[in-house]
Symmetry: C2
Subunit: 296 residues, 2 copies
């Protein structure tokens, strides 16, 4: 299993997801930007803006290599080495506050000393948490995980709860999903087996998110719901810029800023000390933005 095969599959995943999202959107088309990284490698960024359903969405592929940057070496406790990293990253911000924001990432990392691992996950950030949709989303992820290991869903669901927690707000970014990192081949699981799991996750993205688009796209909304969407997007920005390790890694290693920050919403608002009125759907949603809820 060479790294080029993994990168190839990731590129085909990007193709198929872009195609599925364009079909679901109807009118929006992805704009492609090819870029090179000075120190080695490059990427294929694809961003859709002002589609019919998707207000701003990015589906990015990259495969970069070179000397391991000092900051990463220190963070990982590694000695001098070269690295290879490839992956697909997705963030979709829909126009309608009734359709959730979605994020997916699958990635593969390899070092010149022979170490390698996979990471990734999918998580959902509904502007309004709907129990039926949350159950559907988590069940889809659980089904994908269960095909590969009985403990995966439980472990990776808890990991997502912890990872997507906005400490300074005492709330989770959304309803979580699965998050995993450093899945390293060992005596029980070889690289091919791990890759098949990562492929399962990548493949689960389109049917899962497209169902949520189809189910919610015709729901009515007004000024109140748009205002709330902008507040929730503000929290999304706070998580991504203050806490997200992928964003930090990208900015620290002088990645392509526009590709890294495609995750930011087209618009976000900060209303001072905003508190939803008691009993409202907005307040309900806040109650659901906590760790440890068993949705599946």
């Amino acid at each position: 299993m060479e790294k080029e095969k993994i990168a190839d599959w990731f590129q085909r995943l990007q193709d198929s997801i872009c195609k599925a999202l364009e079909k679901a959107d109807g009118s929006g088309r992805f704009q492609e930007d090819l870029w090179d990284r000075e120190a080695g490698g490059g990427g294929r960024s694809r961003v859709m803006t002002t589609g019919s359903i998707i207000e701003k969405g990015g589906v990015n592929f990259s495969a970069v290599h070179g000397d391991l940057p000092l900051k990463i070496r220190e963070a990982l406790g590694l000695s001098k080495a070269t690295f290879y990293a490839t992956g697909v990253s997705i963030v979709i911000h829909p126009f309608s506050p009734m359709i959730p924001i979605v994020h997916m990432n699958v990635r593969y990392f390899e070092l010149s000393d022979g170490q390698c691992w996979f990471g990734g996950g999918i998580d959902l950030t509904p502007h309004y948490v709907v129990a039926e949709d949350a159950a559907f989303f988590h069940t889809q992820l659980k089904n994908a995980c269960d095909k590969h290991h009985a403990s995966y869903y439980k472990t990776f669901k808890a990991w997502a709860d912890d990872y997507f927690y906005i400490k300074h707000r005492k709330e989770t970014r959304g309803i979580g999903g699965i998050f995993f990192d450093k899945l390293t081949p060992n005596e029980n699981t070889n690289k091919e087996t791990l890759f098949r799991f990562v492929q399962e996750v990548g493949t689960a993205f389109s049917p899962t998110y497209l169902h949520l688009i189809e189910k919610n796209k015709a729901l009515p909304f007004g000024k109140k719901e748009k205002t709330w969407q902008m507040v929730r997007r503000g929290r999304y920005v706070e998580f991504n810029l203050v806490l997200d390790k992928g964003t930090k890694f990208g900015l620290d290693t002088e990645g392509r800023t526009e590709s890294i920050l495609m995750s930011l919403p087209p618009q976000a608002n900060w209303l001072y000390d905003h508190k939803p009125s008691p009993g409202s759907a907005e307040e309900q949603t806040i109650h659901f933005l906590q760790k440890g809820i068993n949705w599946a």
Copy 2:
């Protein structure tokens, strides 16, 4: 010079700045929130939203004390101690893209081992850089500095250029101003003398910013200028959440989140790979967002 006297003066500075800004705005009024910090001390946050000129502005006072948090001890290389910190922080986001965003901070920090220091500064973030206004702003700061030390303006201007640099964008947040930290009493300068300088800076805020409001408030603008304002505000968010040490300090030490994040604009937009058209006023502005421009 007891710490309480410094905190008292800071509170009176907050009063006088709020009064001056309310008068300049015409209709907007500051809403006051008193808050206590569980581990010691508290603050007086004052936020104005939807005034006639100020879309969102915060003028916050706080005086907190207690055990020095572990993170700060590590960052400062200090042993176990109690601390006292007091200051005033201001960020004003005007409606009009023709009026600049302004930021001011003055602060005093004291440790139980006897160490103490002042910090602070004022900096300006015009949506459109106007040479005449930039010269006025920097000359005001230079005049304030020159009354106290011949080297202050030069040193603190360069410090602001370095501090307010958005590395991942290769641009400064705005046209800078002055920034200083760890002004500690020594054989040449006692605490009273340093405090008088900090008072000079605090007192310079209102006449300087009010002049820029008055000069620019009647200028016409349209959709193009509002769009650009939202993009510039996005960069302001990026600086504050990714790079600003004060924000990080506040969030890390479990300060009052709404008071810390009052600095964020009421609305910000992220347009993928936005580039102003060649020769436009927007492109001109970007050319001015660099270190080392001698405005005064």
